[in-house]
Symmetry: C2
Subunit: 456 residues, 2 copies
Amino acid sequence: MSTAKVVAAFRERFPDRVSTAAAVREHHCQTVTWLPRQPPEAVVTAEDTGEVSWIVARCAEHGVPVIPFGAGSSLEGQLNAPRGGICLDLSKMDKVLRVSADDLTATVQPGVTREELNRRLRDSGLFFPVDPGANASLGGMASTRASGTNAVRYGTMRENVRELEVVLPDGRITRAGSLARKSSAGYDLAHLFVGAEGTLGVITELTVRLYQVPERIGSGVCSFPSVHAACRAVTDALAAGLGLARIELLDEASVRACNEYSGLGLDEKVHLFFELHATDAVLPSEARLLGEILAEHGGGRFEWSTDQAARTKLWRARHDAWWAIHARYPGRKGIPTDVCVPISRLAECVELTQQDILATGADAPIIGHVGDGNFHLLVMIDESDAAVVTRARELVHRLTERAIAMGGTCTGEHGVGQGKAGAMVLEHGAAVDVMREIKRALDPRDIMNPGKILPV
Amino acid sequence: MSTAKVVAAFRERFPDRVSTAAAVREHHCQTVTWLPRQPPEAVVTAEDTGEVSWIVARCAEHGVPVIPFGAGSSLEGQLNAPRGGICLDLSKMDKVLRVSADDLTATVQPGVTREELNRRLRDSGLFFPVDPGANASLGGMASTRASGTNAVRYGTMRENVRELEVVLPDGRITRAGSLARKSSAGYDLAHLFVGAEGTLGVITELTVRLYQVPERIGSGVCSFPSVHAACRAVTDALAAGLGLARIELLDEASVRACNEYSGLGLDEKVHLFFELHATDAVLPSEARLLGEILAEHGGGRFEWSTDQAARTKLWRARHDAWWAIHARYPGRKGIPTDVCVPISRLAECVELTQQDILATGADAPIIGHVGDGNFHLLVMIDESDAAVVTRARELVHRLTERAIAMGGTCTGEHGVGQGKAGAMVLEHGAAVDVMREIKRALDPRDIMNPGKILPV
């Protein structure tokens, strides 16, 4: 058996860093969603690029699948091993290699987490903004093209990776992108590896963009009579060019859960949470203009603060929404899903989805990064009830179809993995064939994270 | 001969839109730089995507090269036909198909020029910011990953193309990207086609991002004792997070030419030209802060204005720099070249280049989009003097090597074409093999704009 051969080779070279223990293998596969766990046959930990290259080359020789692992926080089965093979754990490649204040960049190994990077930057006046909620690894975040609440101002991993080092599916080491802010020199390989979910190679180093910590941060919250009114307010606020760093929509069900869990004391209505980043001089006028826009769209009282404690409470509650919703439905499992549509279709998409949830009889609070047209359902299911699971699956499937029909995408930030692979043809049509041609060209033996992204 | 066969087929279907006249063919190849003209064997004009698909499929059947043509303003030989074949003229695909104020997007055919798009947007309060100087077509701008003076705030075509329709090298029609602001759904094909210079397919439609016209625009100009001082000022101004939309550096030679041509009356020193985009409320404080930063770095008097006439005069002079420099060297041909380096290396790169120009005895004024680390030489040569041409080539070659050695790129915005293909291996190393593998996978017969980007 080929995997046995490569595992034997790994044991010889890395006696302390190879495991076939069930517990270790279980920990290194999909754990968050309803997809069945498919553990790898072995886990090997690499400590530098040379080791990654050597490991991948051994697997390539023997046709053994390689599944790169960062922090294990992906949501769509990206870490499952449907064809067996080895999990390549990169969490020990956790060094911040360089920070350049002049270039506003940090060069890191893939196992560095976003929280660790920001800890390292604490006294520099700089920060790394992409925040998917979980304390994900930067290599993993690049691989799933992660984003989160700050993306409306700072962009996603797509906009924030400048250069990469990648080990290709045959073990070759290459670089992609440029340390320069822009380049017209050839094919944009950096963007090809970002979002490829490890199916085209292993990211072994990345240079990401940093930003100045804003001089002043203000947060606010405002209720709305409807999702439609809230979304119109968002459209106008974006068009006004305000320094909006976060615009989060919580539907009634999410507000209820957050009230109970975090004591927010909000009316049980649709709410928008805002964060503005600006200079001291500018912030008051931006907040005033934002308040006017919200009022025009029927917003309730706009509660606004630059006080650190008030801001922390609000965003802590937003970050804890996952736990708040779980606490409200004890014994249930939360299935997270996301879609993203053009802003012009957002209100319609959220409202149709709310109606669908109601008609289905599901419990599925909605939270959206609405400045991007991106929203999440957390479908709370009793996994032991097959009928509930089936109805939930169908609900998610209809959501995906609805978003794609509106010119949107089956996932704004979770990635495809196994969970959304079935939607790829509907969304991309003939472009899926182009993706297959690229995959075949770079990974002819299909060893890199097989069974992900491209429908089997 | 294969080309004759496809031309005969084209004449049958498009009797009025095929030409083999020498003048037409000469007009459709490289005209701007020192690369020899290599005209196509015929020019055919397409009017819709179906026609493009049919034309490309015919060429694919017969192995005939296809060179897509937009406005003909590329600078590195992108339009030459080193292996013959046909030029596919897209300039008649010039419709603005949709403008969405809510999504801040415009969907256009590839032949729409940036000036035409902005004319169409005039009463909408929106604009398309990418401005490479020439009135290029948007399809061509996407294909060369163009940028220009506004990129420091608004990004390049890389950041501003949301979705594409592409005819692949076998005639298949596909789409890439998403109308949603973000997506994690599979390989980023949109970024692969942007900057591919027509070597992977023909862009037949594109959706680009639009921006609100800023409430207030202010421009300023400031002299500096050295390139180094000017670049330090730029680094600090960027770090301060000001709403800088343009930061242009002109060296002494460029200032001299612009003074003579446009009557600017500036001291013959290194200058920075600035443009700030902001709200009425914010602009004065931003201008004040910018002035303070410039003074800290030894800047001269900061001449600042929000007056339309003064702004127009300044930026007209900047736009006319090409003509100003040509006027200063009558009878010479201007060879434009560009590189881009990390901001932290910019001052050093410009100063070493100035020393090299002096040592070479060349006339080569420098103008830079220094907010991006990108700068241009316009090398003014007497084409009839072989020794001058050789020295100029060597100067450009050393510039390219210098930029790459500093972690930069051989071209920030002109693209590779034929002119920079020789630098690709030096810049990208093994990644050039990856580019070749992708090219081979999508265009196995190498019919799409052959001989460009990838070194032969």
